[in-house]
């Protein structure tokens, strides 16, 4: 990974975290839908990073968010989980479509179809883990499930919009 790429990812980490704890934290739609935009940082990490590094990055990203949510370990756990799943998912889908597996994981590079399924699946896994660990059990199943589901929709929409806004062709060049 080149130096320039490293700086870009570092800056985007800081921006995503700031947006998450200053804005998204106060934004809850209809008391059910939360937005965890910081996942986009994890989704967009370069493919060539080894899975162990990815999981450790996921751990520390989750931990930083946890500190602001007073939910120590919960975001970290869900983030490590999606980083673990992510590698296998990318390997599986990229070989099937015959895509160059080293391409960046942005919407522009991978196409709307691949990217939206990829983002949706991982966001759903993350949110299900997050909300069910938080209530620590399956009590109030539908209440928790609906929170996880609607939050997935909201996060997904925001991630897609941010892809169009900030990862457009002009900027990438």
């Amino acid at each position: 990974m080149g130096n320039r790429k490293l700086v870009i990812h570092l800056v985007s980490f800081i921006i995503y975290l700031t947006v998450q704890v200053l804005f998204m934290k106060n934004w809850v739609l209809y008391d059910t839908a939360f937005c965890f935009i910081y996942i986009a940082f994890l989704l967009l990490l370069p493919v060539e990073l080894p899975i162990t590094i990815l999981m450790i990055l996921g751990f520390f990203t989750g931990l930083s968010v946890d500190i602001f949510y007073d939910s120590l370990g919960i975001h970290a756990s869900a983030s490590v989980l999606i980083m673990f799943v992510r590698q296998y998912y990318i390997r599986m889908t990229s070989s099937r479509i015959g895509m160059e597996s080293a391409d960046p994981l942005t919407l522009r590079q991978r196409g709307i179809e691949w990217f939206s399924i990829y983002a949706f699946v991982l966001i759903l896994i993350h949110h299900l883990a997050l909300f069910f660990i938080e209530v620590s059990g399956l009590g109030m199943f539908w209440f928790t499930f609906s929170k996880a589901f609607f939050s997935t929709l909201l996060t997904f929409i925001v991630v897609i919009i941010s892809q169009y806004l900030f990862y457009s062709k002009k900027r990438a060049k």
């Binding site: 007073d70 939910s71 756990s77 490590v80």
Partner: protein, 280 residues
């Protein structure tokens, strides 16, 4: 030996995944305990100052609401003061007042700089820390009613376990009948609580007031918990199912008071003695 290394190398992803998850769950369990270190919470200095700054900006959007609630609180205090005056006039033959008891509770005002209401375990952060005399385990109330208990504190910030927490439970009384009960949260709506352990012989009605009992030395006696909203008495059940409309509006909460009980140590050590004696 070589085989072992081969094995570890091959499954390193699984192994590191496992180690990280165990670490996470260890953190979760530790965080769920009653009190915790301030470092990994919003009362850590960095997180605290970030949230305080963000709250400063946010404040400008809610000035009207805050004014309204302060005016309401003022009105209540005036009313209480008037009653008090009346009381002293009617008791001209004044009793000697125990100054220790009068000053038993001290209230430290704090501003809420961060809060959550939508999780299964909610917390608040206020801008007062141990430098202002806050200690773990102190009770926190608002002008309207009970808010929670101090969980962790740093120099300038404290994290409070909200009443909206799956493990929160406050010893309370039904004011009209004087029966002891326990209040906790229903886990869903930030304005609904549950009253437990009210035996069936008690005559509870919708609209009854539930207040703190003062038995646990965290809250002073008579602080509002809420108003009884739904009363159910299932066949063959020993206790009522009671839903409570919580007095504190956690959505708009912006100022709280931390209760410092000067006699807490004395009371606790006395009770501890008795518990130990009974145990033997």
């Amino acid at each position: 030996m070589g085989n072992l290394f081969q094995f570890l190398l091959r499954f390193r992803a699984f192994i590191i995944f496992g180690i990280l998850q165990i670490l996470c769950f260890w953190l979760i369990v530790r965080n769920n305990q009653y009190q915790s270190a301030a470092f990994f919470t919003t009362s850590n200095q960095v997180a605290g100052s970030v949230l305080a700054t963000s709250d400063d900006v946010n404040d400008y959007f809610f000035l009207g609401d805050q004014n309204k609630s302060l005016v309401m609180e003022n009105a209540q205090l005036k009313e209480a003061l008037a009653l008090k005056k009346l009381d002293t006039i009617s008791n001209q033959i004044s009793k000697t007042i125990d100054t220790v008891l009068v000053k038993q509770f001290e209230f430290l005002a704090g501003k809420v700089i961060n809060k959550s209401v939508h999780w299964a375990n909610n917390y608040l952060t206020i801008n007062k820390g141990y430098e202002d005399g806050i200690e773990n385990g102190m009770g926190v109330v608002s002008a309207e009613g009970v808010v929670g208990v101090v969980k962790a504190r740093s120099k300038h910030f404290s994290t409070i376990t909200s009443l909206l927490h799956s493990k929160a439970m406050v010893s309370s009384l039904i004011k009209r009948t004087g029966d002891l009960c326990s209040t906790s949260w229903d886990g869903e709506s930030p304005s609904t609580g549950i009253v437990q352990y009210v035996p069936r012989h008690v005559n509870v009605k919708k609209g009854d007031t539930v207040v703190t009992s003062g038995y646990n030395a965290i809250f002073d006696e008579g602080t509002m918990m809420g108003i009884v909203d739904v009363v159910e008495l299932p066949e063959n059940a020993a206790f009522y199912n009671i839903k409570l409309r919580l007095a504190t509006d956690f959505n708009t909460l912006s100022y709280v008071y931390v209760i410092k009980n000067r006699l807490k140590v004395e009371k606790d050590s006395l009770e501890q003695n008795i518990i130990q004696q009974n145990g033997q």
